[in-house]
Symmetry: C2
Subunit: 451 residues, 2 copies
């Protein structure tokens, strides 16, 4: 296999864009070239899938509405340009080994796969046998959580979200004194991270009404979503050895959408003094395709913005480089009645990941600043992405201002919090003039009644 | 192999004690019969070890000052009475599979191993070859974290601890309104759980002095231990399916000592509003030998105590059976100077696990009450075990009352919080008339200077 000259990318350190980003390139998989496609040849996100014909989970790359089966491509000798360690990692049933290999392996893989899928490359394009063996419609693929997530950590990095929520729970003291000095975060529950499309059962939990003498245990009444950005750790650090800002990005593999489902009534009662626990641990949904930092390089910008009121950033969290990304995130809602009437989902908010106060690098570095060891496949999430406007608020608690301003759905009903049968659909994409659109796909879940 | 009649225990549901608890029994391993031995033939805790001669981690049972290598015993055909699935699980490099099998397999294994190690059983006792193959001095074994811990959760279940600490951090409001209604807990960090003996590097972290304008990043000044009881989950539950109190104990495999190292100055600055994060995630030490609930059966009692001031226990947390355990826990401290002068460690506190307000079953059931899925090998910890008296307080924050009442060490120095070179040694044991002593062994760590 030789399609063009790619050797110069084999050990390319990611400092800017390369031919894999060229927006004029197209793929021989036509659906990848459609305007608005999430997965053009410039994206190449990684996921883990299986099929009815072969139920073993394996790594694939999304291209248009298809998956390129990397295990099959390796078996056919099409990735022989990659070193044996990289091929071994890509032949695994999860992305952990590949995540552990680091940027050189990721860049080399991106380059080889990009070439294979380029419109001009006949290797797979012109072989019915190879296409049958290694190209699968996404519609026929069952997706799996892409990595074994050792630990899941959730941050709280949006100033707008923290201020809005804080003002509801603590009117006198919305933003804690520490908030602008460190990315506040807490450990989440890894076992209940589920993949896009998994139904989410309304949790039961202990709650207490303000006017009740005693708490009760029953179905959550204030079920909410949180629109977040997740990011997977690549190579880890040894216990006791913090990560410096200058090398933070080398430890970050890529991004997924995250719905951090939240039981607000449980949260309100339980969260003091040790933070959210049962309010969050019944389900966290991730999108299946992990979009690499390489793919998002055209969208990396300086950030986050600071105002003259903001305190100086402490040294160990000082940005070493541009570390923010312009990524549009959207929440769509579709009730059961809307599905039955074939109505499309309703867009209920749109925000920009750029609006976060803290970058992914700062969250990672703060997390490891005590020497906490991060491991390949660990999932960190940003916290709810909320912007300055009403319609950029990333959870219902804020979007309806705790139920004061219900949303009006096209089926004639109102929403303050989620109802049984509601489907929440998160989407995300980066898009600008002069660069290819990089989509994050979808992160969906339908609420089932409490058991 | 036939040593006595054990068939009647093969499917014994644990409802009371059986011949394996008989305090008159002894082992042919003489050190197991010494008064005060932690690991008599009535205990039989499980751990994962390796040796210089064979570095592969494998499951063993502690007996006196020796380890019985279960992999070697299986290879020699000595556990053939167990079903193949149980033998397979015991042949693994971690306890997760065995934990997943459930009580019948645990009881059957306990019975077979108990018989093999009984003073009257010649099978291994009288074979030099077998003793060489499967009996290893603990002093020569390298111990490993006994299970792959998917998630680690830390509770806060001691009323004395919560009240003491609460009164320091929130003098007006020491105990939150929720505290007596649910076992308050938070998700911890699984990646930094380390085994007994692992040195713990003093973390750096972000802290802010009360009179400082800005926070700073540097070595933790208020390093503390927390004496806790850890317990490992056995068979898990499916996501969306809570665990009932009546079956809670079937999901609990056994206990270890846990030192939840804490950076108090980091904690004070970071913990609001989402709870402890970096203050805890730099290291959590576990003792190597997991003492099963079966072994502790003679110490299971009704509990926890409630006073007339306490609110009624909500239905889903109502005890279905006796669920508390009398287990003495001790903290010992040894400075570098004490080690250099060959002074023994100093006992600085002694408490009773019985004093916790919430039982292990209640913590587990509350954790899963939203449908959160627990997995075999998950580690839950009780929170600091503190009793009503000064010398039963399980952390330095309480023991020295935030530094007001320093401890005086035999080397002539004082302690408010931990100094570099200090070794913290947790021990635990259950002991009473008419039952064999069941020890938990030790959980040790020496503080290294910040890096």
């Amino acid at each position: 296999m030789r399609c063009g000259d790619r050797s110069r990318y084999a050990h390319h350190a990611m400092t800017n864009t390369d031919h894999t980003h060229d927006p004029s390139r197209t793929s021989w998989i036509e659906s990848a070239n459609a305007p608005g496609a999430d997965f053009p040849v410039q994206n190449l996100p990684f996921g883990v899938f299986s099929t009815p014909a072969d139920e073993s989970p394996r790594i694939g790359v999304a291209i248009g509405d298809q998956v390129l089966d990397l295990r099959a491509a390796i078996d056919a000798g099409l990735l022989d340009e990659l070193d044996p360690e990289t091929r071994c990692a890509l032949h695994a049933p999860s992305l952990n080994m590949f995540m552990a290999l680091g940027r050189d392996a990721w860049v080399a893989t991106r380059s080889v796969v990009s070439t294979l899928l380029d419109a001009s490359c006949p290797t797979v394009r012109d072989s019915d046998e190879r296409r049958r063996a290694m190209v699968v419609p996404i519609a026929e693929a069952r997706m799996h959580v892409p990595a074994q997530i050792g630990d899941y950590t959730d941050f709280y990095a949006s100033l707008h979200h923290a201020t809005n929520v804080g003002s509801m729970f603590r009117p006198d003291n919305p933003l804690m004194p520490n908030w602008k000095h460190l990315p506040v975060g807490y450990h989440g529950r890894a076992s209940s991270v589920v993949i896009d499309g998994t139904p989410v059962r309304r949790p039961k939990g202990q709650t207490k009404a303000d006017d009740a003498a005693l708490p009760e245990y029953g179905p959550c009444r204030l079920l909410d979503y949180e629109m977040e950005m997740g990011f997977y750790v690549g190579p880890g650090n040894e216990l006791g050895s913090p990560i410096a800002m200058g090398s933070a990005r080398d430890h970050l593999f890529g991004l997924s959408l995250v719905n951090d489902w939240s039981a607000r009534d449980v949260q309100k009662w339980e969260y003091q003094p040790l933070g959210p626990f049962n309010a969050k641990n019944f389900a966290t949904t991730v999108s299946p395709w992990v979009v690499t930092l390489e793919a998002l390089e055209p969208y990396r910008v300086d950030g986050p913005p600071r105002s003259s009121d903001d305190p100086p950033t402490i040294d160990y969290l000082q940005p070493a480089e541009a570390g923010a990304y312009h990524i549009t995130v959207e929440v769509h809602l579709r009730s059961q009645a809307m599905r039955e009437q074939d109505m499309p989902a309703m867009l209920i908010s749109r925000g920009d990941f750029f609006d976060m106060y803290w970058t992914m690098s700062q969250m990672l570095v703060h997390h490891a600043s005590t020497g906490c060891n991060m491991k390949p496949g660990d999932l960190l999430a940003s916290g709810t992405i909320s912007g300055p406007t009403d319609d950029s608020r990333g959870c219902l608690l804020e979007r309806t201002w705790r139920g004061r301003d219900p949303l009006h759905l096209p089926d004639g009903t109102q929403r303050t919090f989620l109802q049984d049968g509601d489907e929440v659909i998160l989407t995300g994409y980066a898009q600008r003039e002069g660069a290819a659109r990089i989509g994050l796909g979808r992160c969906r879940g339908i609420v089932l009644p409490a058991g």
